[in-house]
Symmetry: C2
Subunit: 273 residues, 2 copies
């Protein structure tokens, strides 16, 4: 059960309430050990200023969310690749442990999952080549299969690790329990990943009666995911990083006071994570 | 591209518009070769009467939907097992090619996916034992992972086939493209299944901007699934059964005239399936 100091706040969890400075100060107030900004929050204040604020408060940066979206323009345009290079630059500037990749969905107007997979892998390879110059790890986040069409067509640990096998050093996975908890292979694939490729560990919960594909994620303990069990599998491989809390919750947690959200996150870290 | 005669109507596709008799007569009117009733429709008129109506119209019965829900009562109660035996009896009475199993979600009030898996497998084994007496094939339908919590905790072809491997003869899978289209392993797992274990082939489509977890399924051609490709994989293994259309669509197809739905289904069979 992670203590506050062993947890990290993904800014999406309080995206409606906090700018980056407020999120950072909240983490400090609640003794939360790390932060993982989304790029929109970062760009509001700039990466340099963000880096300074984060350092001033002694927070670890468990990741930058997000690069990817390789299929967004129908081909690997310079715009797409440059945006990913910029994401690498930003991640390096703030000292992030990794750049989290949401790889993009099925190519618009097509049913061509295979070409989408291929474009994603080429985009990852090119971004990885750039990131290696800075020793910045690239973390593929396998997203839940319900996002295969519109957000990310890499939807299992197996697929993500197959890609890692092909691309070599410097790339691994960001494991978010929300996306992979249902997978009968999860324990085996975590073992396969091993410590070096487990770059981030994200938690939230799956409400039994989920009513929205994107914005009804639950606080740890409010759903059906056995988070402590999955955490034990990750830690058995030697993962000793922070536990990052990322909750998209339009109807509940985005409407609450940010301090209540962070207090609850810390409590549920101890009781349900 | 299946012709009308090579297609089957799952009654869920017109569940708001048609009782079983109306669905059967609709199939006859549109030259649709088969039907797959849900048990609620069957029970309205009784399995014997249903059987007679189906035979009178010369329809093949591609399946009965559905047995399963093994985790619904927290243990494998007699009520659950008896209901599955009754489903077997009904399937035999109407001459169904298989009994389709929606196996049940995570045990209520728990986060125990592993025990849920175990209970499902025991329930399948017991139902299979009964069904073998009648040579009725049991078809596990791997459901989309977004239903793991509340409907079915078998969510991939791999998991379903692992169970089939353990349980032996008389059990296979009902492959619905909606549930498995995203899986990078799909082609390989269809190959692994082989003709003998491909017991049913269900189609509909995944809307790119799906807005509901259950009731926003699309007509073939209106989404991102490459149905002809998946069909080619199934047929390469020797599958020569009908292509069954099962669409849950609260906002669109359940509000249309049933003849329009069936006409469209036949057209899209030829153009997008």
């Amino acid at each position: 059960m992670p203590t506050a100091a062993q947890m990290s706040l993904n800014t999406a969890t309080v995206k409606e309430q906090c700018n980056l400075q407020q999120a950072i100060e909240g983490c400090a107030r609640h003794g939360i050990g790390g932060i993982s900004p989304w790029r929109d929050k970062l760009q509001e204040c700039g990466a340099d200023e963000a880096s300074k604020m984060i350092k001033d408060h002694g927070l670890e940066v468990t990741g930058l969310c997000r690069g990817g979206w390789f299929t967004a323009e129908g081909s690997l345009t310079n715009a797409v690749l440059d945006d990913n290079k910029q994401a690498v630059d930003e991640a390096v500037t703030i000292g992030a442990n990794c750049l989290v990749m949401v790889v993009g969905g099925v190519l618009d107007g097509t049913t061509d999952l295979q070409s989408s997979h291929q474009m994603v892998e080429e985009g990852l390879a090119k971004t990885l080549e750039y990131a290696r110059q800075f020793n910045l790890p690239i973390a593929i986040e396998p997203l839940h299969p319900m996002y295969a069409a519109d957000r990310a067509c890499v939807n299992s640990m197996r697929h993500a690790l197959d890609i890692c096998d092909r691309l070599g050093d410097g790339i691994g996975v960001a494991l978010d329990v929300y996306h992979v908890w249902w997978d009968v292979e999860l324990e085996a694939q975590i073992k396969r990943a091993g410590k070096d490729r487990l770059l981030a560990f994200h938690v939230c919960d799956w409400h039994k009666n989920t009513n929205d594909l994107l914005l009804d994620r639950g606080m740890m303990g409010d759903g059906v995911i056995n988070i402590p069990l999955i955490r034990s599998w990750v830690e058995r491989e030697g993962y000793d990083g922070l536990t990052e809390v990322e909750i998209f919750s339009a109807e509940k947690w985005w409407k609450e006071d940010a301090d209540l959200v962070m207090r609850t996150m810390v409590e549920r870290g101890l009781s349900a994570t």
